[in-house]
């Protein structure tokens, strides 16, 4: 191996320095502070003593909080599956669309990002509410003469509304990596599979899906991890049983004024995200081996 010239090392330090300082100041340091809080306890309304006790983590393992965590995992899993099922055909359609349309279609997928999440969620509420757009539309065409008066559908403030909201928010994050994987895919392999007698379904299952696997896994991770920590959507669209773990964490930092416990819950949430990423690493590595 040749030794790197000194100049190159200088350039490396110059380029890597600012991001490293940034990471240390705004990522590592806050993380350490949060861990400190998690291992501490409230002494007064404003003082937190770092005692090194694991009591907050112990409290986080009580059944009620594990239940909330379980529900969050369940919501995130449902959302991810729904995004995959809806997103795959969309990504395929874009990837196989004529080249001159592709850019416009991708732009349409990304269009919602131009509007703030909070505003989009309020808009969704206006669509779903009892006197909202969906119900008004049905009422307009409802044959009241045969079926009696129209009773508005209960679309808002329940768990289904939360899942709809989460899928709506996360769908682009699923479509984009899927598209990237499908776009790179060597079409001649699918043609060869069809030529050799495999049907469309077999070709899809044995050629397209395996080749798109890196995109599928990336899509699952960037859908699942943020959904696990979703806070706004369950808060605004949910009903009485839609509490997710981020809502509990939010209360600790506000009304309950219990930062140590909130910090411990945050740490557990982060650990779950890391586990998901580690699993991704394992699966991808095994795929390559």
């Amino acid at each position: 191996m040749t030794e790197r010239p000194k100049a190159a090392r200088g350039v490396f330090a110059l380029l890597a320095g600012p991001p490293l300082v940034w990471l240390a100041l705004f990522f590592v340091l806050p993380l350490v502070i949060i861990l400190g809080y998690a291992l501490g306890e409230n002494r007064s309304l404003t003082d937190i003593a770092i005692t090194g006790s694991f009591r907050n983590f112990g409290r986080a393992l009580q059944p009620v909080y594990l239940g909330v965590l379980g529900k969050s995992l369940w919501f995130a899993a449902l959302t991810t599956i729904a995004c995959l099922v809806i997103g795959f055909p969309v990504a395929m359609a874009i990837a196989f669309a004529p080249a001159r349309w592709r850019l416009a279609l991708l732009l349409l997928v990304m269009l919602p990002f131009w509007v703030n999440l909070l505003i989009r969620t309020y808009a969704l509420m206006a669509v779903l509410r009892p006197e909202g757009y969906i119900n008004s539309l049905i009422k307009l065409v409802w044959p009241a003469a045969w079926l009696g008066d129209f009773v508005p559908l209960d679309l808002l403030h329940n768990n289904a509304a939360v899942i709809i909201g989460l899928v709506y928010v996360q769908l682009p994050f699923m479509v984009l990596p899927l598209y990237a994987a499908l776009d790179r895919l060597d079409r001649s392999l699918i043609e060869a599979s069809l030529d050799l007698g495999a049907g469309q379904l077999t070709s899809f299952a044995r050629i397209t899906v395996p080749l798109a696997m890196p995109g599928i896994i990336a899509g699952i991770i960037i859908t699942f991890v943020p959904t696990l920590g979703a806070y706004l959507t369950p808060d605004l669209l949910g009903g009485t049983s839609s509490q997710m773990i981020a809502n509990v964490i939010d209360r600790q930092f506000r009304s309950a004024n219990d930062w140590p416990f909130g910090a411990a819950l945050s740490f557990i949430l982060m650990a779950l995200a890391l586990v998901a990423m580690a699993l991704q690493g394992l699966v991808t590595r095994r795929g390559r081996a």
């Binding site: 309304l45 006197e131 808060d235 949910g238 009485t240 049983s241 839609s242 809502n247 209360r251």
Partner: protein, 356 residues
């Protein structure tokens, strides 16, 4: 408590906030040696239309306004040290919290002669004996807002929201855990103050039993839910419901006969205020009879200012939404900040109810 923060007004407020940020030359100093300016940190739309401009015209002191939407936000902002606010408007329990955290300056009553305008009932409240740290600005009560055409008669008991399936699926309760448990305890016959663990457990059991009939727990936007037709009964503050009642004649408000929780928003000077004398002058100005009447005319919350009340028209003074009947007020109480262990217990309670 986002009660004074309608979304429309929030956007307007943000725009105003941005325009106020413009760089101005340092203001001149007044006779008291303080710069002729004042940082007022308060709820949105919570003064009269011309109150601040009138103060500036009368004293030469310019008022810079900043807004918060909840007491928690105010507390969080001051927790790391006062960033330069001179006057704040916390609710009664946060007066206690701020005082316990040594974040308030004692008030000099000699500089607030208009304290004489305050009704005797508000001069010695349990959360601030002798008004050493706070001056009363408004008070408010929780009750039930309802859609008249969808409710049989007047729902004048907490029973209809806490312990009955008559309005199943059309009820919204507050998500504020402390207030929710207190009102449930009130319905069960206890005081809102010093709710015992046993009573808390009974309240949790009742609310879990009631949960299938509840549509949602709202974050103090009950008036919007009611106006939009999402629900037909909500627990909300009187002032909030009074606002939507002005636009929709089908909406009513009642304080249940069991009594309720009283809140009071107070004027305080946070420790580290850069201009404490201007702050005293401002507080004294807001407690003036004519100024107080101007404020009440705009915001339509009950005023604790007797001299201001005397100047108000009958449609305000005799309005049963703004001033609930004496019989029910007699059964109503202030809440107390009861320490961190209690805050933790009520938060665990709401987590349990929502997870059940």
């Amino acid at each position: 408590m986002t009660r004074r923060l309608s979304r429309r007004r929030l956007l307007g407020g943000m725009a105003a906030g941005l325009s106020l940020r413009g760089c101005a030359p340092p203001p001149p100093r007044g006779a008291n040696g303080e710069a002729m300016t004042l940082n007022f940190y308060s709820w949105d739309s919570y003064t009269g239309a011309t109150t601040l401009a009138d103060f500036t015209a009368a004293t030469g002191i310019g008022v810079e306004m900043s807004l918060y939407g909840t007491n928690d936000e105010l507390f969080a902002r001051l927790r790391a040290g006062n960033p330069g606010f001179d006057v704040i408007v916390p609710s009664n329990e946060f007066v206690t919290r701020l005082r316990l955290s040594d974040m308030l300056l004692p008030l000099d009553h000699a500089r607030i002669p208009n304290l004489a305008n305050v009704a005797p009932a508000f001069r010695d409240p349990p959360f601030d004996r002798g008004r050493r740290f706070s001056m009363p600005y408004t008070w408010l009560v929780m009750g039930i807002g309802y859609r008249k055409s969808r409710v049989a008669g007047v729902p004048d008991s907490w029973k209809w929201v806490f312990d009955s399936d008559r309005y199943a699926g059309r009820i919204a309760l507050i998500s504020e855990s402390d207030d929710l448990i207190r009102l449930a305890a009130k319905y069960l016959g206890a005081s809102v103050r010093h709710v015992t663990p046993d009573m808390t457990a009974r309240a949790i059991a009742m609310l879990i039993r009631q949960k299938p009939h509840i549509k949602l727990f709202h974050h103090d936007e009950g008036q919007d839910l009611l106006a939009a037709g999402d629900v037909d009964l909500v627990i909300e503050y009187n002032g909030d419901i009074a606002q939507v009642m002005a636009e929709d004649g089908d909406i009513g408000f009642v304080v249940p006969r069991e009594g309720t929780l009283i809140n009071s928003d107070c004027l305080c000077i946070p420790r580290g205020a850069p201009r404490p004398d201007n702050a005293h002058r401002f507080i004294n100005y807001l407690l003036d009879a004519r100024v107080g009447a101007g404020i009440a005319r705009t915001i339509r919350y009950p005023t604790p200012n007797a001299a201001a009340l005397a100047l108000m028209p009958a449609d305000y003074r005799d309005n049963p939404v703004i001033f609930p009947p004496a019989a029910v007020m007699a059964k109503s109480e202030y809440g107390d900040f009861e320490g961190l262990a209690r805050a933790r217990a009520v938060d665990a309670a709401i987590t349990e109810i929502l997870a059940a």
